[in-house]
């Protein structure tokens, strides 16, 4: 339980900083703007029989049009939000030299890492939970496929675990928060987009790119299916980068 004081302090520090409120504000604005946009567009097309014929979508439904779009949008925004949230976790402590004192306290590097990871996760989960107002709204006015909403959220949870782990890793390698944010954003974008080259690549290259791709692994969740290989992918991604962060912390001890 030695991670708990670190978790508590980290969470308080995040809530004291204006960054979190700006991030949350921008996130909600974009989420509402685009989700409501999708809803209005759907309503417009759906109510017009001729337009549906024209689009070739006689049997269009809420799940395809809005629920998938909602999760896709949330996943995409997390690519920006999480690097900005995790950038300070280690970089700031190292720059302010508070880390020097923390490592001479009787806590393991693993406790420090766990506390910080869970603090970031708590904030992101709060954001995700607040966004559940949109599926609820949808449920009130229409009937989305609930399993898809459920697996969508599960996929989202696994995705943010992986993003936070990567962001923490980026924060552990530098003292500079800007560099940290940029590294994690660039790295996550790489893993996010790499699957999109699959179509143009044949053979093993395409297969590797697709296996590494974050987006490829979210597709099943969007269909309401939980695939073991997808769950494994996100868990492995998370553990790999948490493990690498721990190694970086160890190596830094030897160097400083």
């Amino acid at each position: 339980m030695m991670w708990y004081p670190i978790y508590k302090r980290e969470l308080k520090a995040s809530l004291h900083s204006p960054v979190i409120y700006v991030l949350a504000g921008v996130f909600f604005f974009l989420m509402s703007y685009f989700t409501l946009g999708m809803m209005i567009e759907f309503a417009g097309v759906y109510s017009d029989y001729n337009m549906r014929q024209m689009y070739g979508m006689a049997n269009m439904n809420v799940t395809d049009w809005i629920v998938r779009g909602f999760f896709g949008l949330m996943n995409f925004l997390m690519l920006f939000i999480i690097p900005l949230l995790t950038m300070r976790l280690f970089a700031e402590e190292r720059r302010n030299r508070t880390y020097d004192l923390l490592v001479t306290c009787p806590v393991r590097d693993g406790d420090i890492l766990t506390g910080k990871f869970l603090a970031a996760l708590t904030i992101i989960l709060a954001l995700l939970a607040a966004c559940s107002i949109f599926p609820l709204l949808l449920e009130h006015y229409s009937s989305p496929e609930l399993p898809v909403v459920f697996t969508g959220y599960l996929g989202m949870l696994l995705t943010v675990l992986a993003y936070i782990a990567f962001g923490i890793f980026a924060s552990s390698v530098t003292e500079n928060q800007i560099i940290s944010a940029f590294l994690s954003f660039a790295g996550l974008l790489f893993f996010y987009l790499i699957g999109d080259v699959t179509s143009s690549q044949e053979g093993w290259k395409g297969a590797v790119a697709s296996a590494l791709s974050i987006r490829q692994h979210t597709l099943s969740f969007a269909k309401g299916v939980i695939e073991l290989k997808d769950v494994f992918y996100f868990c492995a991604f998370t553990f790999l980068f948490l493990f690498l962060s721990l190694e970086v912390l160890k190596v830094r001890r030897w160097r400083t």
Partner: protein, 314 residues
Amino acid sequence: MIEVSGLTKIYGRTIAIQDVSFSVAKGEILGFLGPNGAGKTTTMRILTGHTPPTSGIASVAGFDVVVDSLEVRRRIGYLPETIGLYEDMTVDSYLLFMAEVKGVGRERRKGRIEAVIEETGLSSCANRLIRNISKGFRQRLGLAQALIADPEVLILDEPTIGLDPAQIREIRTLIKAMEGRKTIILSTHILAEVTAICNRIAIINLGRIAVLGTPEELSRRLGAVRRLSVLAAGDPVRISRAIEWVPGVQSVLKSERLHEGGHLFHVDVREGSDPRKEIVSALIAAGCDLLELTTEGVSLEDVYMSVILGENRK
């Protein structure tokens, strides 16, 4: 309580400390004295588990700093040279956090926080944000967090740096009061500080311990010379020549400052000899008037300078 043997730390190509060995008994206060960059901070960082050594062994209360790092860290309080504090916390919430991280039991926390706030004189700013408190209070807060878990061992890296003279005296009194109860290592480059607080002194230079001993031992071992000051009236050349001829006198230096009624001479005397009587007779024989003759003794500053300068010349 603290055992260090053959400790070496190398950063890339720089040797920070080399073959450092010493031990500190329970309740003792050891002072590290040395110029900046001599290796004081590195040695302290190794003892706190902050940095592992390249080679050599260090142990605190019987626990190895590398193998049993966690046990060592449970027993020490550390005040780093430049202390990093969480600026957005208040003084008391910071101390609460440090108490939790250092594993102070829930029921003892409140009492410990009150005790250290009292001891370090922080009560006037307990509710203020750390970002708004003065340098002196920050330094005291650093000391307060080192004391929060009531550790057996204190490692204090320049505890009085940046404080005004009154605060320096308070902190020194506080440290001195813990003598016998806690084992303390502190570093400084203020000579008066080590003589005032420490039982033993280690002069560290160029990554090695140059000398180690009590202040008296150091003066005796290195202070091969004792110093006399002679105030005499008459021709200065004549006076200095008369004193120089006295057996046991090593050197005579005339003070440039003007003195009432005569000239002042600093006379260095060889170890084991006491030529005061002979100096008096020699001056009378030379027809000069002796006005004053006093023993200056050797200050620690002289010892320090002779060690540092002697080594750096090599």
